[in-house]
């Protein structure tokens, strides 16, 4: 065109500046504050083995939270994750009664997770039903099957090697679950922030119609996201079952809300469109540290859940309060 060369800069604020002002930075400060408070409050806190134990408070939830973060950013949600754990665990427990190999058990757990995810995906993407309703339904459905199969019984008798996933250590105090958590964090971080797929997730969450009109295969992306949450629930089921050594139908009861809390605390917009994996990782640590620290102080579980709830509201209200106070 004939106009004078108009220069548009790529950015007005540098990425570093942006990062300093981000939600993740605030959350990291909160995590550090809690860490310091914990170490002052209890002499048992700064102990490698105790800290290692603390990671079990969040590793399984965080695995699901990564996939849930993508799903929520894309404007959908899956509330059936904890029930998928129950169903996958029940399936593994039933199979374990026939002395199958550890590998088979793991494959069964993952397959059940994937199948449940696919079931949600079909209902949402092919039949056009709202995901919140579909997954509230499948939340009852999946766990209901476990209750029918197990009643007030429990499955035990998992093979010895199976206990590695929830109880094994890769190196010194570094547990298998923690390594898996770290690897998954990196994978999900790359997928969301460095791939076309991740960009499509943001586009869909901000404007699904616009994304469709831009040539993005919206339904396919959503289908994959539901499969991923299902698969992650399957993986969490393997870890949790292995750690507990038994399956009851109430396994992981209520975990879906803790997962959603972790995702929202991590800065993911519950309405979709924004959020990051580093945020969810820090949120996982925050929640783990709080639960563990309160545990060391012998605070009962009920009070802990009150504290987590207050923390969620507090951290979310903080930026808004801050801007209101400055006016």
């Amino acid at each position: 065109m004939t106009s004078t060369d108009r220069f548009i800069p790529d950015r007005l604020t540098s990425p570093l500046q942006k990062r300093l002002k981000s939600w993740e930075t605030l959350l990291l400060a909160v995590a550090i504050a809690i860490f310091i408070a914990n170490s002052l409050a209890s002499p048992y806190f700064l102990n490698a083995w105790n800290l290692s134990d603390a990671t079990f408070n969040f590793t399984e939830k965080a695995m699901i939270a990564f996939a849930m973060a993508l799903l929520i950013i894309a404007g959908e949600i899956d509330l059936s994750v904890a029930s998928i754990i129950a169903l996958a665990s029940t399936a593994m427990g039933a199979a374990a009664q026939f002395d199958v190999s550890t590998l088979t058990l793991v494959l069964i757990g993952l397959s059940v997770g994937l199948a449940c995810g696919a079931f949600n995906a079909v209902l949402v993407t092919m039949m056009g039903l709202p995901s919140i309703v579909v997954t509230i339904g499948t939340m009852s459905l999946f766990r209901g099957i476990s209750y029918i199969v197990l009643g007030d019984q429990a499955y035990r008798g998992y093979p010895g090697a199976f206990s590695y996933f929830g109880q094994g250590y890769v190196f010194w105090v570094i547990s298998f679950e923690f390594v898996l958590f770290a690897v998954l964090a990196v994978i999900y971080g790359v997928v969301l922030h460095k791939t076309n797929f991740g960009r499509a997730v943001y586009a869909i969450g901000n404007n699904a119609t616009g994304a469709l009109f831009s040539g993005i295969r919206v339904d396919r992306v959503k289908f994959i996201l539901f499969l991923l949450t299902g698969l992650m629930s399957g993986i969490a089921a393997v870890c949790l079952t292995s750690r507990l050594g038994s399956t009851r139908p109430s396994i992981g009861l209520g975990m879906e809300l803790e997962v959603v809390t972790m995702v929202v605390l991590g800065g993911v917009n519950i309405l979709g469109g924004s959020g990051s994996i580093p945020g969810v990782v820090i949120a996982a640590f925050v929640m783990g540290l709080v639960t563990f620290g309160l545990g060391l102080l012998n605070v009962p579980g009920i009070v802990m859940s009150i504290f987590i709830g207050a923390l969620l509201i507090g951290v979310i209200a903080l930026p808004r309060l801050w801007s209101m106070l400055r006016k």
Partner: protein
């Protein structure tokens, strides 16, 4: 000449009404009078100011100057409620009703009959709604939720609502656009009924047959100015068309010498169960093909089918002579067909995302590292295409939603150019954008064609269609009714074909 109506004073009169928007004079000292028991047709092209006038009448816009009088008394309508209080009500193109409420609730929203304790007397409300619906011969259950009704029934509900507030002036803004033949005739009967009750009706329509069927008077606007008014009996269709379009094409369009190359796109027998039928044409590289028609003629619906959004029941698309099956926008983009939608905010741009991400959104798969994002490449691509389009923005990581309409449109076009398409479809590309950006979009369209892109432009603005296109296809009621080029491309021809007026009457 008007002796037989001299006794009737107008219920509503507008005098020298002016309404200005930034950069546009939407209405310039226009006048309008509505008489009891008469239907006045408001006639004009898209952009003539008809919709703005309706909004002034119903209290949605405040005029910058001029006088509104009701029964000879000057009034003003600061809010929509004030207009309603003076007995003015409008039935819009897209009826402004509430899908999740029942028919009765919609009719009486805001003035429901009250029972004890000031609560809504639902039984009375239902009964009164039933009476109103019966009085216009509408067989609709007052308890139905509006969502479950068709467009025609929704119109009837809107009319019942108008009657329920005892309206004296009823504005009907293209009420037949979405109706079937039978429903249109039922509407005519209803208009007759309203007339016999002494109501003044303002009837906005592009269809000359219905104007001549039901209107008593006409008022013609052009480019926001009053042109003429009078009695329908005194004019012919030809006269009205001349009043509507009779002006110099005063916008300046880029001069271009078409550099037309090989055939790129061939469409054969595209049909849809309800929206369009039997659309077929060819398009060559470097050509700009205009699609003209009235709102609701099926142009956008056809274009969206070509782009894979809606599924046609029949039809073949060939690109460079090869049949391409297009079932989704993704497949259309792969085949080289891209679509710049009319609804920029919803369908065009992802407004909360930054400019550079919008520009590269459709071409991420074309970057060297397949599947992965490389920020440096991404910014380079965004820089290249935003520069080509002369985008005005503070930085490339500004959210698109912060830009003006014209610049948002440039971002959408940049997104598609980055995919290096063969055919670009622009649906009302300059609708709602300022004059300056309009010219930039026109220049750019011409440049794209000269670079060998095949361009399809859907437009309802006659000067734009005539100024930009090498060839024009006119659609009416979902069908191609004419293909004109060269000296045949005149405003009269387009209007005549679009409105379905026989040759002889002109």
């Amino acid at each position: 000449m008007l002796a037989d109506h001299a006794a009737d004073a107008p219920i509503l009169r507008l005098d020298r009404i002016t309404k200005t928007f930034p950069g546009v004079k939407a209405l310039s000292e226009v006048q309008l009078a509505l008489y009891p028991g008469q239907v006045t047709a408001l006639i004009g092209e898209n952009g003539a100011g008809k919709s703005t006038l309706v909004k002034v009448l119903t209290g949605i816009y405040q005029p910058d100057g001029g006088q509104i009088t009701v029964d000879g008394t000057p009034v003003s309508f600061p809010t929509a409620q004030d207009a309603a209080a003076h007995g003015i009500t409008a039935i819009h193109q897209e009826t402004v009703l509430f899908d999740d409420l029942t028919v009765a609730e919609n009719i009486f929203l805001g003035h429901a009959p009250k029972g004890r304790f000031g609560l809504i007397d639902t039984a009375a409300q239902r009964r009164m709604a039933r009476d109103l619906l019966d009085s216009i011969g509408a067989e609709i259950d007052p308890d139905t939720r509006l969502r479950d009704l068709g467009i025609a029934s929704k119109h009837l509900v809107a009319i019942s609502r108008a009657l329920s507030i005892d309206a004296r002036v009823v504005v009907m803004d293209e009420p037949t656009a979405a109706l079937s033949h039978k429903e249109i005739h039922e509407l005519y009967d209803l208009v007759e009924q309203l007339k016999s009750q002494g109501k003044a009706i303002l009837f906005i329509s592009h269809k000359f047959d219905e104007i001549f069927k039901i209107a008593d008077r006409y008022t013609v606007f052009r480019d926001g100015q009053f042109v003429a008014d009078g009695r329908i009996a005194d004019v012919t269709e030809g006269d009205l068309v001349k009043m509507m379009v009779g002006r110099e094409v005063d916008q300046i369009f880029p001069k271009r010498t078409p550099n037309i190359g090989a055939e790129v796109l061939e469409v054969v027998g595209y049909s849809h169960p309800t929206e369009f039928a039997d659309i077929g044409f060819t398009l060559r590289a470097g050509e700009i093909l205009g699609f003209y028609g009235l709102v609701g003629a099926g142009r956008s619906e056809f274009m969206q089918a070509l782009f894979g959004i809606t599924k046609p029941s029949k039809g073949v698309t060939k690109i460079d002579g090869q049949i391409r099956v297009i079932r989704s926008p993704a497949e259309a983009v792969n085949a080289g067909i891209v679509y710049v939608p009319e609804d920029r905010g919803l369908q065009g741009a992802i407004r909360p995302l930054p400019i550079f991400q919008n520009v590269t959104l459709a071409s991420l798969n074309r970057t060297p590292r397949k599947g992965f994002i490389n920020l440096a490449n991404e910014f380079a691509l965004a820089r290249e295409y935003t520069k080509r389009l002369d985008l005005r923005a503070a930085s490339l990581d500004t959210p698109v939603g912060n830009l003006s309409g014209g610049n948002q449109q440039k971002v959408v076009i940049a997104k598609w150019l980055a995919t290096q398409p063969k055919v670009i479809i622009l649906d009302e590309p300059t609708k709602g954008i300022d004059i300056g950006s309009k010219a930039a979009v026109h220049d750019f369209m011409a440049e794209l064609a000269s670079q060998g892109l095949a361009v399809i432009m859907v437009s309802s603005e006659i000067p734009e269609v005539l100024g930009m296109s090498d060839r024009v296809i006119v659609m009416r009621d979902g069908r191609m009714v004419a293909e004109v080029s060269g000296p045949e491309m005149t405003p009269e021809t387009l209007v005549r074909h679009a409105a379905g007026i026989a040759e002889a009457t002109l």
